[in-house]
């Protein structure tokens, strides 16, 4: 049966019904996914304000404040633990990693995207392949290298090693952004008497702002996420990042400080999620530029 055979009002009714069903389905699926994704976080959000004599009663409703909520555990987190140190360490590492990554990945991405090198394409793929070598494969010899350099138990260990993860993926992302900037702009600046370096600095780099933002977000996220190197290199709490500090330091023996622990997670996860949500469309565009168009 083709659409010519059907009378038009019936077809329209069917289309409307399908449309309504579609909207209903969209909302149902969206709500189910949102619920499942957020469930442990919402439970964490409630737990962090609960009094211990409410939280640790097995048959109390876990989703309700059976006793008045308290900020005591939040205070404890900031006063009695090294949480602020972990955050500071994470930011310091993130900043240093961002600078190293930009300094090394921007030139590579430019060269591969712009200089029409004969082996440029192969080099681009090789850089992407480096990203496929996970820290799991390298952390044992890397620990020896870090010890040999005398960098164990310091933030320098992480600052030195994290760019090995950020440079490949950033170079790959930035290549996409460079390809999105018309070559004519740069050539015009060179005709106007600038050197190539001058043209890059004056004309190209300002237009790379979105790509640079992407790298900054990526480097800071990695510094907050990375677990295996941070756990292997640094064991004293003064040089832990949030990824290793929170799960290991807010536990005394077998006793978990659950409320403070959950507060520590919420205070990190929500801001990062807000930043990512704001940049999501740009990331998708960047990914599409780098990946799909090639």
């Amino acid at each position: 049966m083709t659409w010519q055979d059907t009378d038009v009002p019936a077809l329209r009714r069917r289309a409307e019904r399908r449309h309504k069903m579609g909207r209903f389905g969209t909302y149902t699926i969206a709500i189910v996914f949102a619920f499942l994704a957020a469930f442990p976080f919402s439970w964490a959000l409630i737990s962090m304000f609960k009094q211990s004599n409410d939280l640790y009663v097995k048959d109390n409703n876990p989703f309700w404040f059976n006793e008045p909520p308290t900020l005591e555990h939040l205070r404890l987190l900031f006063v009695d633990t090294n949480y602020l140190t972990f955050i500071r360490n994470t930011l310091v590492v993130g900043l240093a990693v961002t600078l190293i990554t930009l300094a090394l990945a921007l030139p590579v991405a430019y060269a591969l995207a712009r200089l029409r090198l004969r082996w440029g394409e192969r080099m681009g793929i090789a850089i992407f392949l480096v990203y496929l070598i996970p820290p799991t494969l390298l952390f044992i010899p890397m620990t020896r290298v870090i010890n040999y350099l005398g960098l164990q138990e310091s933030l320098w260990a992480l600052i030195l090693v994290y760019p090995t993860i950020t440079i490949p993926i950033s170079a790959w992302l930035l290549m996409g952004f460079f390809k999105g900037i018309p070559m004519d702009l740069e050539e015009q600046a060179m005709v106007d008497g600038h050197s190539r370096i001058g043209a890059i600095g004056r004309v190209v780099l300002p237009l790379m702002f979105p790509g640079i933002i992407a790298v900054i977000v990526f480097a800071f996220t990695l510094s907050a996420h990375e677990f295996i190197y941070a756990l292997a290199f640094n064991k004293s709490s003064a040089v832990k990042t949030i990824a290793t500090g929170v799960p290991t330091e807010l536990v005394r023996g077998d006793v978990f400080f659950w409320q403070s622990l959950q507060a520590a997670v919420i205070l990190i996860a929500v801001p990062i999620a807000l930043v990512f949500n704001a940049f999501l469309d740009r990331f998708i565009t960047g990914f599409t530029m780098g990946a799909v168009k090639g």
Partner: protein
């Protein structure tokens, strides 16, 4: 040819070959020193009996591998790594495709849905896993509370205390945290499908299910492959989920290669054996590399 030539080579830096060498060598040297060198070292270590107590490189041939393979815990870890990766990524593909189709539509409250759905991915893995450790607590788990209230159970489930449910929990948490990333990748693919194709399908009168299986999914296949690629790397190489949730327990039933390499190599100090355990990831990674290279040759994806 280009303006660069027209303007003449007034600066050394205008020479593309010179510029390429200057621009590429710092990063290439960095990567060779801190990825290439440790990689070679990892292979060398696995043929020695190096340990933190005795950091000499004594070559012992395949002895280290023999000892690693003789350990039943290692075989358990190898099997679990495989099992977790396969089950988790099958679920990820199905769920991420469904989620991506919803997220590219316009609807009220989309901003909030996107924010909530992204949480598992953007929160640091070890911290996100901590929320699950609490959610699956042996005594105070809210899931158990709901099940008790509904009268479905009388005793708690001890999710992380029994081998079967501990494995299920590890897989579920991996799926939970990877689905958002995979959905974002698939979204990029859905957006890239030209609207003329969708229009043509609509004119032909194909229903939404037929459209999904005969048009959308075949067009999406390459990008879904990219999502699976990331998913497999994340599941086989990640150790934070298992380390934080179960530390490989109960009785090594959730042990995977990454946690076993860490426990042997760093916590146990047997660097050679730890390196050898981690090297078993290499065949999978080489396989993935081959897929990437194939996709790269087809150009429309990479």
């Amino acid at each position: 040819m280009t303006a660069a030539n027209a303007a003449g080579k007034r600066y050394l830096s205008d020479n593309p070959r010179f510029l390429a060498a200057v621009f590429m060598s710092p990063a290439v040297i960095y990567i060779i020193a801190l990825v290439g060198f440790p990689f070679v070292l990892a292979i060398i270590y696995s043929f020695t009996d190096i340990s933190t107590g005795n950091p000499e490189l004594n070559f012992v041939g395949f002895e280290t591998f023999r000892r690693v393979l003789a350990d039943p815990v290692f075989r358990e870890a190898l099997w679990n790594t495989f099992l977790f990766a396969v089950i988790a990524n099958l679920l990820v593909v199905v769920l991420a495709t469904a989620l991506a189709e919803v997220l590219i539509k316009d609807f009220k409250g989309k901003w909030l849905v996107r924010f909530l759905v992204l949480l598992p991915w953007v929160a640091p893995v070890s911290l996100a896993t901590i929320t699950w450790l609490w959610t699956l607590d042996s005594i105070f788990s809210p899931i158990d509370w709901v099940l008790r209230e509904l009268g479905l159970i009388t005793e708690n489930m001890y999710w992380l205390g029994r081998p079967g449910s501990a494995m299920g929990s590890v897989i579920a948490v991996q799926v939970w945290r990877i689905v958002p990333l995979a959905a974002v990748i698939v979204m990029a693919g859905l957006i890239a499908i030209p609207s003329e194709i969708n229009d043509a399908v609509a004119v032909d009168g194909a229903g939404s299910w037929r459209k999904r299986f005969q048009v959308t999914i075949p067009l999406l296949a390459p990008i879904i492959a990219v999502a699976v690629l990331f998913g497999v790397i994340l599941t086989i190489s990640d150790m934070s989920v298992v380390y934080v949730l179960t530390r490989g327990g109960p009785t090594n039933s959730t042990q995977v290669l990454s946690t076993w390499a860490f426990i042997k190599g760093i916590e146990g100090g047997a660097l050679g054996q730890g390196a050898a355990v981690a090297l078993f990831l290499l065949p999978v990674l080489i396989g993935i590399t081959a897929v990437v290279l194939r996709l790269a040759r087809r150009r429309e994806v990479l």
